[in-house]
């Protein structure tokens, strides 16, 4: 019966609500989801910023100093601060969702989710320390 939904006088007139363009404002979890998805723009901006830096490095010391000054410009600084917040949101949601997305078995037993998320965060810590060490010291 439900495949043939052409309206007839004896067929119930079904009520269909159209999804609003602002559906994502209806629930906190939907809003957080859209913010998480918009972090993709922050990631893209970072790549652009990084390539501008690489280009400056390729040109020489003067260009590098110019890049550092430009990074201090209020508009660029604000953009980078906002992007950093979004990138952090991406990293946190990514690592927290990782255990749900994969089942890892060691010796026939399922690795607990907290361990998977934990090892991802540990990897983040290690990578970040290496980056900090490379850029802040002469190591």
């Amino acid at each position: 019966m439900t495949e043939h939904s052409a309206y007839t006088p004896y067929h119930p007139r079904w009520h269909r609500t159209r999804v609003s363009t602002y559906w994502w404002l209806g629930r906190g979890s939907y809003f957080l989801f859209i913010l998480r998805e918009l972090s993709s723009l922050a990631v893209a901006w970072f790549v652009i910023d990084l390539l501008v830096l690489v280009s400056a490095i390729a040109k020489g010391d003067a260009a590098y100093q110019q890049f550092l000054d430009w990074s201090g410009h209020p508009f660029v600084l604000a953009l980078n601060i906002v992007s950093f917040a979004f990138v952090t949101l991406h990293a946190v949601t990514w690592f927290n969702l990782a255990p749900q997305a994969m089942v890892v078995k060691v010796a026939g037993k399922r690795v607990p989710g907290a361990l998977i998320a934990g090892s991802n965060y540990a990897a983040l810590a290690v990578v970040s320390l290496v980056i900090l060490a490379l850029l802040l010291t002469r190591w």
């Binding site: 998805e37 918009l38 893209a44 390729a58 550092l68 660029v76 990578v127």
Partner: protein
């Protein structure tokens, strides 16, 4: 053998790899160059030091991988955000070309720039 949308699994793999790379490498780097150095909280590395790091072959490869995969990650995610957020899935050919096309262009630019670093 494969089914009607053979490219979708591959795009998802790029998205996943990009997501991992972005989550691991971007936070610290963006914090330093985007926030800490401009605000004067920390001292940026001198030019010769940064040149030595970036010029090192392994770093070039890593940075290329980071840029390219992050761009594909962002493109894939943004494509679906446009479908779901603005409900313009019917424009999918245009959206796909802009998103993935942009990622391809970015990848080529990254390759070129990382090649010409002395």
């Amino acid at each position: 053998m494969y089914i009607r949308r053979p490219i979708e699994p591959f795009l998802w793999l790029l998205f996943s790899a990009g997501g991992v790379m972005a989550a691991l490498f971007i936070p610290a780097t963006l914090f330093l160059f985007g926030v800490a150095f401009p605000l004067g909280w920390l001292t940026p590395p001198p030019y010769d030091r940064l040149l030595a790091i970036v010029g090192y072959p392994l770093t070039r490869v890593l940075l290329f991988g980071l840029c390219s995969l992050s761009l594909f990650h962002g493109a894939h995610r943004f494509r679906y955000t446009l479908y779901d957020g603005l409900q313009i899935k019917h424009l999918n050919e245009v959206i796909n070309s802009i998103c993935y096309g942009g990622a391809v262009v970015g990848t080529l630019v990254a390759a070129y720039l990382l090649w010409i670093v002395p």
